[in-house]
């Protein structure tokens, strides 16, 4: 296991090192003028009325809908992958199993479509 995935660990470490170097470069290499950080620099970008967003910022319900739809179809996708790999060897049985699995989801998909769950509001 570890031997098969060994190089992947090296890739993760290298990515982390490069990311860490880039992220911390500003505090090491950048100009350090103590006391000259202006108020505009530490205020979040603002336009219009001042607002407080931390923690309980409200946002559209559509994002939740998209996330829920995503979970259903993502799980479906992951269940189909093993069938797809073995489809050639197993043949008709796997095809029927795949269709039995897909048909209820297609029905649900059509229902969601008709209920306008995929309309962006």
């Amino acid at each position: 296991m570890l031997t098969t995935y060994g190089p992947a660990i090296v890739f993760v470490v290298l990515g982390a090192v490069i990311g860490a170097v880039f992220v911390s470069a500003g505090s090491l290499l950048g100009p350090k003028r103590a006391g000259t950080t202006r108020d505009a620099q530490v205020t979040p970008y603002e336009c219009g009325l001042p607002s407080e967003v931390r923690g309980s910022f409200r946002f559209g319900i559509s994002f939740y809908l998209i996330a829920m739809l995503f979970i259903i179809f993502d799980v479906e996708l992951l269940f189909i992958y093993p069938i797809a790999v073995q489809l050639r060897e197993v043949g008709t049985f796997a095809l029927v199993a795949m269709c039995v699995f897909l048909v209820p989801l297609v029905v649900a998909f059509v229902y969601e479509w008709r209920r306008k769950a995929m309309e962006w509001r």
Binding site: G6, L14, G15, V42, F63, D74, V85, L87, G91
Partner: protein, 343 residues
């Protein structure tokens, strides 16, 4: 019965020091492609818009990406008062780690004999293959979400929400578009998929899948025309509004790294990897073939960027859910039926 056969353990393991050396070499090659892609993007886009593009720094402006990164790294570092310090700094690193980890599965060739030892010209060749790439591209959503949330700015937060919704929507279409290939090849291993394309590249029988993949890849990497996450006119700068200096450079590099990886996966899955039609080049040409094809696919990314206008957000969602997803599902079912009937 063959149903009960567990996933085969494909590939083999070299000794640990070879693994480390080859991982470092492949990573450096991949990371060199990032400034190249950046340069290609600006230069090609300039030419397509009847201007020169950057041409001051170095020969033909070739050192412009280096100059940009150098400038960004020497910037003064500050963050908004409302931001969450640790997460604000850590979020770009997540993006970078995910991009780097995904690059490990790109195969540049089969196994070769280097100084008497067998070495596979890929980071890893595992039985889950392409699912490894999906796992890490799924994780990279956290990089954007945490970055946008930890900024403590409403523009960053809205941008992050929109990025996340866009990424997860197109991840589905992307997963389904690959499924047709998995059915045809009967394996998830990327080297196995490339070897299955020795007769015909999968872009021919799986052309619909290729179109769906490339459109989803534009959206997944946040490239124009689907750069809705950083639509300047509406959202200021998306999730990276509050970022500057080296931290912004990390996001920027990760974005281009993702573009390189999406191109390399397209080459592996659809364009025959290291295979060439009608000729059988020696083994040492294989990595060069893969790299050249990858750069050509990157050019397609730039081409699309200069050609198409940016859609509205509801149009983007409608394209993902109402066109690409049903089309990809139909593609999978048709492929499955054809494979079973012709076998």
């Amino acid at each position: 019965m063959s149903v009960l056969v567990p996933f085969a353990e494909v590939g083999f393991a070299e000794s640990w020091w070879i693994q480390i050396i080859k991982a470092v070499v492949i990573f450096l090659v991949g990371f060199t492609l990032v400034p190249l892609a950046l340069m290609l993007d600006r230069k090609l886009m300039g030419r397509m818009q009847m201007r020169y593009g950057p041409n001051r720094v170095g020969p033909y402006g070739a050192l412009q990406p280096m100059a940009d990164i150098g400038k960004l790294l020497f910037k003064q570092q500050f963050r908004p008062r409302t931001s969450v310090g640790f997460l604000f700094a850590f979020a770009p690193v997540i993006s970078m780690i995910c991009a780097a980890a995904t690059f490990a599965i790109i195969p540049f060739g089969g196994t070769v004999d280097i100084f008497g030892t067998e070495v596979g010209l890929y980071g890893i060749d595992v039985s889950i293959g392409i699912l490894f790439a999906f796992a890490f591209s799924g994780l990279s959503v956290y990089g954007l979400m945490l970055g946008g949330w930890a900024s403590g700015s409403k523009y960053s937060f809205l941008g992050a929400m929109r990025s996340a919704a866009q990424l997860i929507s197109y991840e589905l279409a992307m997963g389904f578009s690959i499924l047709g290939i998995v059915i045809t090849a009967g394996t998830l291993s990327l080297t196995g998929i490339v070897e299955a394309q020795s007769g015909m590249w999968y872009i021919v029988p799986q052309f619909v899948g290729f179109c769906i993949y490339i459109v989803s890849a534009f959206a997944e990497t946040g490239r124009p025309p689907f750069d809705l996450s950083e639509a300047e006119a509406e959202l200021v700068g998306g999730y990276s509004t509050e970022y500057g200096g080296g931290r912004f450079a990390t996001y920027y590099a990760a974005e281009y790294f993702h573009m390189v990886i999406a191109s390399a996966i397209a080459v592996t899955m659809f364009l025959g990897g290291w295979q060439l039609p009608f000729v059988d080049p020696p083994t040492w040409v294989d990595p060069i073939v893969v790299l050249v094809k990858t750069v050509l696919v990157i050019c397609v990314f730039v081409w699309a960027r200069t050609t198409f206008p940016r859609p509205r957000y509801d149009q983007l969602m409608a394209l993902g859910w109402k066109i690409l997803l049903p089309l990809a599902t139909a593609n999978v079912i048709v492929t499955a039926i054809i494979v079973v009937v012709t076998d």
